[in-house]
Symmetry: C2
Subunit: 275 residues, 2 copies
């Protein structure tokens, strides 16, 4: 895609009411760029920078954004944090440290739900991220309505800037996402969502396969046959096949009918890891 | 912390039954290191590498791991993907592309729940990540039980390796995490969880403040006093104060009683962003 077409496509996917991300005194352009990329991944477009250490604009930020130009180029720069949050109705501060003051502490998931409710009421919401090495000071956190803390491994909880931005952005996006948790997807048709075949097709496959197995003498002795048939049907049921897949298996059975008597490969044990 | 103490602390926080992360033909050591860091953030320790392009061990991986040495040093290297998944009972493939074959496609959240159920049954679970530039081929995806797809901005959905590892690891961790979504945390006491003060303390503050406001002539005219009092009480109720905070505000009121008649600062409009 050409640059302007790409920017247009990106702009269309940005939710204008979404939270603003404010990077306070960010140090490395690369981290600003990677945070911008994570934001656009999540449909966020509004980036504010307070006193970026290495100046602005930044070629390193542009490079690390991996195509999220629209976020990097649209970034607003402020000299002071107070100014960067002045128009916002609600601000969350991200931090991994406990503070001496009493604040509501949100998981990213609960914060996302809180932000969605606030935005639905017409609020303008921001999320504040501290400098890479030091994080936010207590004074800076005191400007925020609440704190977002990711409940990670307590022995190794420090996230880099872009990873923190990704998790907050990801949870914000998920809080508005309706993708089913699990769905059958794929196949050759125009619709990516795959439906299990009508049962009549599966019953035909059962009939064909069981008749061939009878001829081949596999369903023997007769008193065990019903149990063997049910086991095979259970396997095929669990595969949840689409109609084209049933046709594929039909062809497989047809083809195998000509293969009797050949050497059969056997199951092997696990190979070990290289040392 | 010294290196060995740190390793010990990290080892204690790793869940041995957690999913194995398999990086297939990873290209840059930095990305392996950042993925290892994201894993340890989420309490995951088992990393497998299939044919890392730039060889192994990797100083760049070590550097980028930012202290997640235990994951990098414990990585198992395999020549072929088949061998790297041989002992696993269930494998998920991460990919952002639609495939021609029909597969169950999970969101990271649903996959995490699915993995937790499988692990609880005694299964050994792995998550497969493709090379940075190309992702997994259809043949590689065909080795997996299901696909994990992050439902991101469709116009900008590509995550880097470490970010993909972070989201899958994060969801796995959250699926076993009981942190309350929102809690009042902080203050000077030994318990980080802050409780709102007993109501008797708040009622004393109300009484003191309202008496001082009466003396100062603020609660005037008398017929408006009940409404004014209720408004002030509503503000203080919403602050959900702890007992030390009520003492702080008591001191504030006491102090302000001596401040009448001074110049009062006024609310200003918003400053604009720098251009």
């Amino acid at each position: 895609m050409a640059g302007t077409d790409r920017s247009k496509a990106h702009r269309q996917q940005i939710d204008e009411s979404a939270p603003v991300f404010i990077l306070h005194r960010p140090q490395l352009g690369e981290n600003i760029g990677m945070a911008a990329r994570a934001m656009l991944n999540c449909g966020l477009g509004a980036l504010r920078l307070v006193a970026p250490r290495d100046g602005w604009p930044s070629a390193r930020a542009q490079g690390a954004a991996s195509g999220a130009d629209i976020v990097v180029e649209g970034a607003a720069v402020f000299a002071a944090l107070d100014d960067a949050i002045a128009d916002l109705n609600r601000v969350y501060a991200t931090t991994a440290r406990r503070r001496e003051m009493v604040k509501p502490v949100f998981t990213p998931r609960a914060a996302a739900a809180d932000m969605r409710r606030a935005i639905a009421r017409g609020e303008r919401v921001g999320v504040l991220f501290g400098p890479e090495r030091f994080g936010l000071t207590n004074d800076e956190v005191s400007l925020a309505h609440g704190v977002i803390e990711v409940p990670l491994n307590p022995a190794f909880a420090s996230l880099n800037l872009a990873q923190a931005a990704l998790i907050v952005g990801y949870e914000w996006r998920m809080a508005g996402d309706a993708t089913p948790g699990r769905q059958l997807v794929g196949g050759d048709g125009p619709d990516p969502i795959a439906l299990p075949a009508p049962r009549a097709k599966l019953l035909q496959l059962f009939g064909f396969l069981e008749a061939e197995l009878d001829k081949a003498g596999y369903l023997h002795p007769p008193e065990k046959k019903p149990h063997m048939v049910r086991n095979i049907r259970a396997i095929l049921q669990r595969a949840d096949m689409t109609e084209p897949e049933i046709r594929t298996l039909w062809g497989v059975v047809k083809s195998l009918v000509g293969l009797k008597g050949k050497n059969k490969p056997k199951l092997k044990d696990f190979p070990a890891a290289e040392d």
